[in-house]
């Protein structure tokens, strides 16, 4: 991070490929930022540089809305040794992310309106990223008593979830979906039946059998999705499934959407870029929740990205301390970092011919923003100038420890990728990158 421009100075992005998925826009052009907001994408070449404007020559790179990551765990409050708002903000900026929705299962859990305001304020202090806090769906995210959904909503919680814990109790889920409807609030489920998953750390199958690791059947996801779809039908609540990773789960969601249910889902890069063989000989960086799946499920996730069943791609960033990963596989912490690699790994689907670039960016910008009721994720005139400038073809290698952020536990360690963020702007202020040459 080098240059920061005073809010007052206009910025003119020249020689860029503008992509704004919200408006279906993909063309070469120029973009003017004035006073921290977007002042126009339709500046003709004949019009010169506005007085006093700082010019950024994109060199043909893509300029798109700053990414909106709808599923991020940070250590704050309670687990600052894993990650803080400040370190997560640096990682986000390096990944082109300007808005992130943060999970509530911290210590204390985000089940009090004051904590929602606190998290938002902590992000504002960094000036690099906005935080959209999730509110706890149940008190302390423990799954037994409903949290103050209305008050949390009023304080700015964008959706409700127990984070990395599934809400297991069917009656409680029914109540939560029903009550949240009064505020038109979105309920987000970690779709994994906890009793079937208990003790497991890898997907049931040949690999888990060979490694002697306790398995979790893929049915644990399908069963929870099937149950909650039925409850959503019963309650007419708004339901979203996080990090869906199995063919069976996606089929259920696809069918439910076809029936007109108000249901959505996201997935995370590990589930379309890796399969369970990444565990290799007990690599704990590849221990995730849900666990990495077999190749058939990975392909099903790719297909669901292409056919629109999946509504968003989220990093599912889960920073872990080195000591929590340097353990025998079954007792090591689950989760992988993902902020700095979200765009590059997603672009692998574009380079692989699975997704169009504009659609991939839609899954990373306005579509998750819309789910969370945020107006972020567009280049429309008057929008806040949250911007991401990236070269979709520049190759680099993901190396754990070289990425920004406090935690090193990327499941993509060693992965060669194409697509590099060149610069990130938050409300018109550059928060990452050299002045694009």
């Amino acid at each position: 991070m080098t240059v920061s421009h005073p809010m007052a100075q206009p910025i003119l992005f020249e020689n860029v490929r503008l992509i704004d998925p919200a408006r279906g826009l993909d063309r070469p052009g120029r973009l003017l930022v004035r006073g921290g907001t977007i002042a126009g994408t339709d500046l003709p070449e004949s019009e010169g540089v506005p007085d006093g404007a700082h010019v950024v020559d994109g060199g043909g790179a893509v300029l798109c809305p700053g990414l909106v990551d709808m599923r991020v765990a940070i250590g704050e409050p309670g687990f600052e040794y894993r990650e803080t708002v400040a370190s997560a903000a640096r990682a986000a900026a390096a990944g082109g992310i300007t808005t992130m929705a943060v999970l509530p299962n911290s210590q204390p859990a985000i089940d009090d309106p004051a904590l929602v305001r606190h998290l938002r304020a902590r992000a504002e202090e960094t000036g690099m990223v906005s935080i959209l806090p999730y509110g706890a769906l149940t008190r302390r995210c423990e799954g037994s008593e409903m949290a103050e959904i209305g008050l949390l909503n009023e304080a700015g919680a964008v959706a409700f979830t127990d984070g990395t814990r599934a809400l297991a109790d069917a009656r409680m889920m029914r109540l939560a979906l029903t009550y949240a409807r009064g505020f038109d609030a979105l309920v987000v489920q970690h779709p994994e039946d906890p009793s079937l998953a208990r003790g497991g750390c890898a997907t049931d199958g040949e690999l888990a059998t060979r490694l002697g690791l306790p398995g979790i059947p893929t049915a644990a996801e399908a069963i929870m999705i099937a149950r909650d779809l039925r409850l959503a039908e019963l309650t007419r609540g708004r339901l979203h499934f996080a990090h869906v990773s199995t063919a069976e789960g996606l089929d259920l969601i696809r069918a439910a959407k076809a029936r007109g249910l108000r249901v959505t889902c996201d997935t995370a890069p590990p589930y379309f870029d890796l399969n369970e063989t990444a565990i290799g000989d007990f690599r704990t960086y590849a221990k995730l929740s849900p666990p990495l799946r077999g190749e058939a499920d990975r392909l099903a996730v790719c297909a669901a990205l292409a056919d629109g069943t999946i509504d968003a791609i989220a990093s599912d960033h889960a920073p872990c301390d080195a000591d929590d990963k340097r353990q025998p596989f079954a007792v090591a912490a689950a989760g992988g970092t993902g902020l700095a690699t979200l765009l590059a790994v997603t672009l692998a689907r574009v380079h692989g011919g699975n997704l169009k670039l504009i659609d991939a960016l839609g899954l990373l910008t306005h579509r998750p923003a819309a789910l969370l009721g945020s107006d972020a994720g567009t280049l429309a005139d008057g929008a806040v100038a949250d911007l991401c400038l990236f070269d979709p073809d520049r190759a680099w290698q993901i190396v754990a420890g070289d990425l920004p952020g406090r935690a090193r536990n990327t499941p993509f360690d060693g992965r060669a990728v194409e697509g590099r963020v060149l610069g990130t702007w938050k409300a018109g202020r550059q928060v990452y990158g050299q002045d694009a040459a």
Binding site: T209, L211, G280, D413
Partner: protein, 321 residues
């Protein structure tokens, strides 16, 4: 793993020459030297003429995070018969799950310039984790439900002494395959050596994907034992027979215990094996365990010989690198 194999793609089940972490993927050309050398050590053990200078000056540490008097004693005798300095470290069960303890211990042992580290741990993959952190050769003496390579080698040696070969034999592995590292290592070794392997047990104790390891699955002893050359019984944990995976011990014995009647379905003279310690009257009837067909005591004897061969060959693999 934690500290990145930088720039290297994930390695699938590597077999480092320096360590013995498992038998999966091991080629017969690497298995046979262990068996051949163990065979000669077996003869030397009987004549009490072992080469005590073989590992002189080497340090072997038995690092047992899980209690096992039998295996530890077997490794200790093996090392002593080759002249190594042996230290036994039993780590209190209460601290088993502390990874810090595991790796801190590794760092300590490294500083002591250990040559061979024999590791038993309740977690699958723990020896592999240690192997990345120490300079010593690591021998997996049983990790979780993953592998127990020296047990499979001693079983193979015992079988080979009786049949002259492993190729073409039918081996029935019976009981709690799900939780058995002995079963996994035996499956890898026996299939690699050309034996036909069947697993037999209640469906709750047979992993659904076990067929992918190249075995046939039977849920009835009567089918699984038919014409088998070797009947290998696994130890049944009592805590799994109280309605968890099996309703009761008596129901288990009724359907999966090895008695003389069931043994009669196997080929005449079929070998009866058990990795010990046995639950008499649960998975195996005493009359079977003590019969002429039982080679359970010979397995224990071959265990020392096999562990001598493993320590010997691994210590020499270290010399070459």
């Amino acid at each position: 793993m934690n500290d990145s194999p930088r720039a290297a793609p994930p390695r699938f089940f590597p077999q480092h020459g320096r360590h013995l972490l498992g038998l999966q993927g091991m080629h017969p050309t690497r298995i046979v030297p262990f068996l051949d050398l163990a065979e000669s050590y077996a003869l030397m053990n009987r004549s009490r003429q072992t080469p005590r200078d073989r590992l002189r000056g080497r340090t072997v540490i038995n690092l047992f995070f899980e209690d096992s008097t039998r295996t530890r004693t077997s490794f200790e005798l093996a090392a002593k018969r080759l002249g190594a300095d042996v230290v036994n470290m039993s780590v209190a069960t209460s601290s088993v799950n502390k990874g810090e303890t595991l790796l801190d211990t590794a760092a300590t042992l490294n500083a002591m310039r250990t040559d061979l580290l024999v590791v038993r741990h309740s977690q699958s993959g723990a020896p592999a984790l240690l192997a990345r952190k120490v300079e010593a050769s690591v021998v997996n003496a049983g990790d979780g439900t993953h592998e127990h390579p020296t047990q499979a080698l001693l079983d193979a040696l015992t079988i080979r002494r009786h049949f002259g070969t492993l190729h073409g034999l039918t081996v029935a592995i019976c009981g709690d395959v799900s939780h058995s590292r002995v079963a996994r290592s035996n499956i890898h070794l026996l299939t690699a050596m050309g034996a036909k392997v069947r697993v037999v047990g209640p469906p709750t104790l047979i992993p659904g994907a076990i067929g992918a390891l190249g075995v046939d699955v039977h849920y009835a002893m009567e089918d699984g034992l038919r014409d088998a050359d070797v009947v290998m019984m696994l130890r049944m944990q009592r805590e799994r027979m109280n309605g968890g995976q099996v309703p009761s011990p008596r129901e288990y014995f009724r359907f999966y215990g090895l008695d003389l009647k069931r043994l009669a379905m196997a080929r005449p003279g079929a070998l009866v094996m058990h990795p010990g310690p046995m639950n008499r009257g649960v998975e195996i009837e005493s009359r079977v365990a003590d019969s002429d067909q039982s080679v359970i005591r010979e397995q224990v004897e071959m265990g020392v010989a096999v562990r001598m061969a493993v320590l010997d060959l691994l210590s020499r693999a270290g010399d070459q690198t």
